[in-house]
């Protein structure tokens, strides 16, 4: 082994990475902890020479903030809706893709495209698609003129246009848009992982299932899904973690107001809450960040526990 004699060399090689990690990862984490437990901490104040006492006031403040519950609720709702929908869709698409032989590469690339596209840009496109021009400025009796492609399609089928994201839109409509957008955004990565998983399943299991006279549906539920379960678990766990950090997708569609015109912050999320506090109340932002960390931690533990029971490895 190389250990003893030249271990200093290894340290030198690692040093740049370690220094960067210390500065940009370890120190911020420590600093977050420190700020969270100093009552009413603010950086400006600290620079100005103010001292802060140790305490859990920041946490209390966060929990008492009525906006916090909105943010937590939005975040949870988005997670609970988007993770299962996107996972099931991705699984179906991956299975179909895997079954197609011609053009498989091309289709794979097409399905992967959203992954390499900036999510804010995609958000703006979605915003345009769901848009409804005229409603914000229309008077009581004025006809509503739609511009977004979605409302055009709805109109084509003889349905009334829906105010998806503009002023006066309902919370439900907003949520539908967000769910569609987040699911669509999450698909490529999941399809990629699941397709890889599918392709690594030994073909002989399928041959064996055929000889055993298995129907297609049972092949899917009794062979494919269980053999894919480690990948499914991975995808669900990472998606939950990502879901709790949802922020930029909402910015992409609703802008930094985090809500339709006239009702800002309605769709605010946990990360949005942290950003809002960050400007002046770094102590409170840190406390919220730690709370978010705690929630993700617990949810991930539950996920791991469940997946250990359900996956076959």
């Amino acid at each position: 082994m190389v250990e003893s004699k030249h271990s200093w060399k290894a340290w030198i090689y690692l040093a740049p990475a370690i220094v960067l990690l210390l500065i940009f990862t370890v120190w911020p984490i420590i600093n977050t902890l420190r700020m969270a437990f100093l009552e009413g901490y603010s950086t400006m104040g600290a620079v100005g020479g103010a001292t802060y006492e140790f305490g859990i006031g920041n946490f209390k403040q966060v929990l008492e903030y009525k906006d916090f519950l909105t943010c937590l609720g939005n975040t949870m709702l988005l997670c609970v809706l988007t993770v299962p929908i996107s996972t099931i869709l991705a699984l179906l698409i991956a299975v179909c893709l895997n079954a197609i032989k011609p053009l498989q590469r091309l289709l794979q690339t097409i399905f992967f495209l959203p992954y390499v596209t900036n999510s804010i840009a995609i958000g703006m496109v979605f915003a345009a698609m769901f848009n409804m021009v005229g409603s914000a400025f229309g008077g009581e009796n004025e006809l509503i003129i739609t511009a977004g492609i979605i409302n055009n399609v709805l109109g084509f089928f003889g349905m009334d246009p829906v105010n998806w994201i503009n002023a006066g839109s309902s919370y439900g409509a907003n949520m539908v848009v967000m769910v569609v957008y987040i699911v669509w955004n999450a698909l490529p990565f999941k399809i990629l992982i699941l397709l890889g998983g599918l392709q690594s399943i030994n073909k002989q299991y399928y041959d064996a299932a055929k000889v055993d006279g298995t129907s297609r549906r049972r092949v899917f539920t009794r062979i494919t899904v269980p053999l894919l379960s480690p990948m499914l678990a991975y995808v669900v766990i990472t998606d939950f973690i990502g879901g709790f950090k949802e922020y930029s997708s909402i910015v992409g569609i609703f802008g930094e107001d985090m809500g339709p015109t006239g009702d800002p912050r309605r769709l605010n999320t946990m990360v949005g809450f942290i950003y809002d506090a960050l400007a002046n109340h770094q102590g409170r932002a840190s406390a919220a960040a730690l709370i978010l960390f705690g929630i993700i931690f617990v949810v991930t533990l539950i996920n791991l526990y469940v997946s250990k029971k359900k996956t076959h490895y």
């Binding site: 299991y205 041959d207 064996a208 055929k210 000889v211 055993d212 006279g213 298995t214 129907s215």
Partner: protein, 369 residues
């Protein structure tokens, strides 16, 4: 149930056009497997054994020819509907299911009128497990089993639905020598007990010879010979079959026939009445040599290996196509120490093959042979 193969052919198209060369994996295979027999399908790697099996099971579509189960043409029938049991070369047990679930799986797939109540399924699963002696292991996962145990689970899974035909693809290839012997006897026993028509693929001639009712020897997709193991061993139709069967292998010499006599080197070693003058390959089984100081075939003596009842004499001869000439003789015969050893030959253990197509040339064996 009898299984009938008519002109069965499988051609794999070439992968890229430029390189060309489609593969004829199985070529014009015609054979009727009698009901309730165990057939050993034998041949070197890549000769089309697995492909034949997959076509019978329905996993691969024949390029030509027909398959009958009994009187039913099943050529176009999907694998799901054929009701065959197949044990894969590497078992293909479902890794996420326990042994019990694996064995139950084919039963749970039954639909409509064939559907069984739960307790009957369990009963049948345990029956199958008992037959292969794994009923103690029902709650283990395949990864917690030894190779031999996995193989038996695979057999139980294939047997549990009481298939009309049981197909085994080199089921013993992953086992160690002892377990192999034991398991092949077990397969024979199970086959006899159940009376299921069975096709057993192997490239181990000894394995095939020891348990099969009939063996089929294949080479490059073409059937070389079909028959009872002993008949094929005693009467190979060509040099390939002669070389493929038997341990130690047959000794092959360059020889020639002149005036009704077989010459190896300069020595006339055997009378071969009725054979035209020509160059030939001569195959002599190891047990076809008789120690005889005045015998016509003289070899350079290398060593004598005593193997209990028998003695194996290792020698060399300039006309031999094998590196050494190996004879097996009774241990009662003393091999005189010396530079050479001489033999006379048992005519019915000597085979002549044509130089051109390596097919058998028969000669009248004198009655004293």
């Amino acid at each position: 149930m009898k299984v009938e193969l008519q002109n069965l052919t499988k051609i794999f198209p070439s992968r890229n056009k430029k390189a060309g060369g489609e593969v004829v994996a199985v070529n014009d295979f015609t054979f009727t497997i009698p009901d309730g027999k165990l057939i050993g399908l034998l041949g070197p790697s890549g000769c089309g054994k697995s492909t034949t099996l997959y076509m019978i099971s329905g996993l691969q579509k024949p390029s030509g020819g027909k398959i009958f189960f009994g009187d039913d043409d099943v050529t176009e029938l999907a694998a799901e509907d054929r009701g065959v049991g197949l044990v894969f070369q590497n078992y293909a047990l479902y890794p996420h299911m326990t042994v019990k679930q694996n064995i139950l799986f084919p039963l749970q797939n039954l639909k409509g009128a064939d559907k069984l109540p739960k307790d009957v399924m369990l009963e049948r699963a345990y029956e199958a497990a008992k037959l292969v002696q794994i009923d103690e292991l029902m709650d283990r996962k395949p990864s917690e089993l030894s190779g031999g145990q996995q193989q038996r689970v695979a057999i139980a899974r294939a047997l549990v639905k009481m298939p009309k035909v049981l197909l085994l693809d080199e089921p013993l290839s992953n086992l160690d020598a002892r377990l192999r012997l034991q398991t092949r006897e077990e397969i024979r026993r199970i086959q006899k007990e159940t009376g299921i028509t069975t096709i057993f693929v192997t490239h181990d001639q000894e394995e095939a010879m020891s348990i099969s009712d009939l063996i089929v020897v294949m080479k490059l997709g073409v059937v070389q010979q079909i028959g009872k193991p002993q008949d094929v061993y005693d009467n190979p139709t060509n040099l390939f079959v002669a070389k493929f069967l038997g341990t130690p292998p047959v000794n092959v010499f360059e020889g020639s026939v002149k005036g009704g006599k077989l010459y190896i080197g300069d020595a006339a070693v055997l009378e071969t009445p009725g054979v035209d003058d020509q160059d030939v390959f001569v195959g002599i089984r190891p047990e076809g040599f008789i120690l005889d100081n005045n015998g016509p075939l003289t070899c350079k003596l290398n060593s004598v290996e005593v193997m209990g009842r028998d003695v194996s004499v290792v020698s060399t001869h300039s006309a031999s196509l094998n590196p050494v000439v190996r004879s097996i003789i009774d241990a009662d015969n003393q091999v005189a120490a010396g530079a050479t050893v001489s033999y006379s030959l048992k005519p019915h253990k000597v085979f002549l093959f044509g130089k051109a197509d390596e097919s058998r040339i028969y000669f009248g064996v004198k009655s004293d042979g």
